[in-house]
Chain length 395, copies 2
């Protein structure tokens, strides 16, 4: 009996437990302190009424002989696939229904998609980045090359000609940096991937935060992307589904390697190792895409977007370099006065009672940077920014 | 870019599409025929009131700021893990909470557990069997050895001394045969596995159908099993969750190979590639394990069990060899008069308007056998058995 030895190569992440420990210590020392958490990576606003109503209705159906739904299609019910199809059409991406796979969230599919690829592929992963891309590839023992995201490229690394790649991870709007690729930049990635038969795994989990016209919400807005990309998306941030669990993955018919359809492989993977998403959850998800559901979800997003704008305006006023905030719930700021990520964490906690996330926790290139999130309330976010101004203003 | 070549080694299963085609042809020829389906592998009775109530309540919570649940623990909420723990205790299996992992169903976990094992392990798989065990290992390119289940061993294969194994699949009560291992038989498997450091993957999805006292419902009823087994279970058949999706997997603390805890590896796998089960679904699942929920679910199970008993009594009366039916929703019968599985399928459809499942679809050793399921209504099942008697009685 041999275990998968690659699990031993994984590093434990102590980022969030270290933060929790420091916060607990602080609270013990300052029991009356009014702490403001801008480190939250989870939404805080409840499901919208339209979604709750559809969800409840489907639960009731499950309790009646006529309405009961047993095993559903592993790739999702057509009513939801159709809703996703229409959603894509609203930003002019046309997809056949068969390209759309409903999942229990982007994290599962981002991990499981690797089943389709051999172990001896060369994987390009941005640094800093959402840790799942790295860990899932380490588990399989693949060769990993980092894409350097930094101040110079605005945390939007571009392909380096001559660098060989088989699998490429892109996340835009980015977690943790909030930076967003332009269409022109994505077109360069598509061209690069196609030249060497690489596959782009495109994480669009934050697409709903894109407000600026012209910025891409899907890699499939780029010509030729269907021949080289798989896209992952989620209702977690769009509609507050972090605890309700529903997402979708697009594997285009046009994506063929070694003469084999990746869509066909993914269908085989899902029908073999997955049994579909809960029927009531799929009904709830479909309600997100109705005109009423969309409007209600946008109202929630607006709160987070205004928080992000408030943070962005504060940093601009203070003359601090940052990315994100405009088309993303994340702000990625340079730590002031040459502080390291953890030094700034301690400084901000001690001097202003604000909790954020040290950038170094997302990869070595995150050192000297810091992530703030827009998921707290409007009042708390504004209050935190007032404290930040008082602390960092150079008069 | 290299694809996982092992996907090319998978065979497409046409079992259920071939059945559907034959049934459609029959219906076209006999538009007024009253077809009875005893091939259904899915439950038909709705969620019980207690479960619906808890499910609805949790959906309502998701719509309020106070009750909203975002990301939950990947391994499941403690309220549900505790309920599963108490359930195991009811048949005298004591488990620490940390051994219990909540999943979206046994199929996902049975597939995903293979992430923990190297590719060069020797895998023992019963024949005939639930196709997922075979396909998920073929996808990884592992060496597969079949365990012959047949008339001689009552479709309960036992270990052959001298046969080397690293991973062993057991399913009891069995799908498709309905056969159930005794404690003594499982103890032999545990002894065999421990001797050679193998790991048993035990599929207990049908445990709720075990009615005979003394028959094991969990492999952990066997001494020493915690050092060599992982158990998968599901609420699909227990509580009609096939479309609602919730299961649980037990990875005991005691299960260590090469000095590494498999429980720790599985936790790492799940926290990296999974984001937990929908909160309202977990609340619904917890309601299954309340005294009222259990009693209501047992009422549903009783209907299926009585159907199975009715089928078993009919086959006994007709003098046809079969397994299952007593502690399982499945009946696995020998085709009469030397017919092949498909010959009997056609015969039964043409002469009695009954649809079942050809045993050969579950593996070569299923040839000459036939599966009937207990998931239709009481009336339809009784009617089918009357037709079977009229057709096969030797007067």
């Amino acid at each position: 009996m041999k275990l998968n030895q690659h699990y031993q190569e994984l590093q434990e992440s102590y980022l969030f437990s270290d933060i929790a420990k420091k916060v607990a210590d602080y609270q013990q020392k300052h029991p009356t302190a009014d702490l403001i958490r801008l480190g939250i990576g989870d939404v805080t606003r409840p499901l919208v009424p339209n979604v709750v109503e559809a969800f409840e209705k489907a639960v009731k159906e499950q309790g009646t002989p006529e309405g009961f739904h047993g095993y559903g299609p592993e790739q999702g019910y057509d009513f939801l696939r159709k809703a996703v199809q229409d959603y894509y059409a609203s930003f002019e991406v046309e997809l056949p229904l068969e390209d759309i796979f409903i999942s229990d969230g982007a994290k599962s599919d981002v991990g499981n998609i690797l089943d389709l690829f051999a172990k001896d592929n060369r994987v390009l992963i941005p640094n800093p980045v959402y840790p799942v891309y790295l860990d899932t590839n380490l588990m399989d023992g693949r060769e990993i090359v980092y894409l350097n995201a930094n101040l110079e490229n605005g945390f939007l690394p571009m392909p380096e000609q001559g660098e060989k790649a088989d699998i490429i991870y892109l996340c835009s709007p980015n977690n943790p940096t909030g930076a967003v690729y332009t269409k022109k930049q994505l077109a360069q990635w598509v061209e690069y991937a196609r030249k060497q038969d690489a596959v782009i795994l495109f994480d669009a989990a934050y697409e709903a935060f894109v407000r600026e016209a012209g910025l891409p919400r899907s890699i499939f807005e780029i010509e030729g992307a269907k021949e080289c990309a798989i896209e992952f998306c989620s209702l977690s941030k769009t509609a507050g589904f972090t605890g309700t669990r529903c997402g979708y993955t697009v594997v285009p018919e046009e994506l063929v390697r070694e003469g084999v359809s990746l869509r066909k492989m993914w269908l085989r993977r899902q029908t073999t190792k997955f049994n579909g998403v809960s029927y009531p959850v799929q009904r709830a998800a479909a309600a997100v895409f109705t005109p009423e559901g969309m409007e209600q979800c946008r109202e929630n997003l607006r709160v987070y977007q205004e928080n992000a704008q408030c943070m962005a305006a504060t940093l601009e006023e203070l003359g601090i370099w940052f990315t994100g905030g405009k088309n993303s719930p994340y702000i990625w700021m340079k730590c002031p006065e040459g502080m390291t990520s953890w030094e700034f964490f301690d400084f901000l906690l001690e001097k202003a009672g604000i909790v954020g996330t040290p950038g170094s926790g997302f990869g070595s290139n995150g050192e000297g940077f810091f992530r703030l999130t827009a998921f707290n309330t409007k009042e708390k976010t504004q209050q935190a920014m007032e404290r930040l101004k008082a602390l960092l203003r150079k008069d």
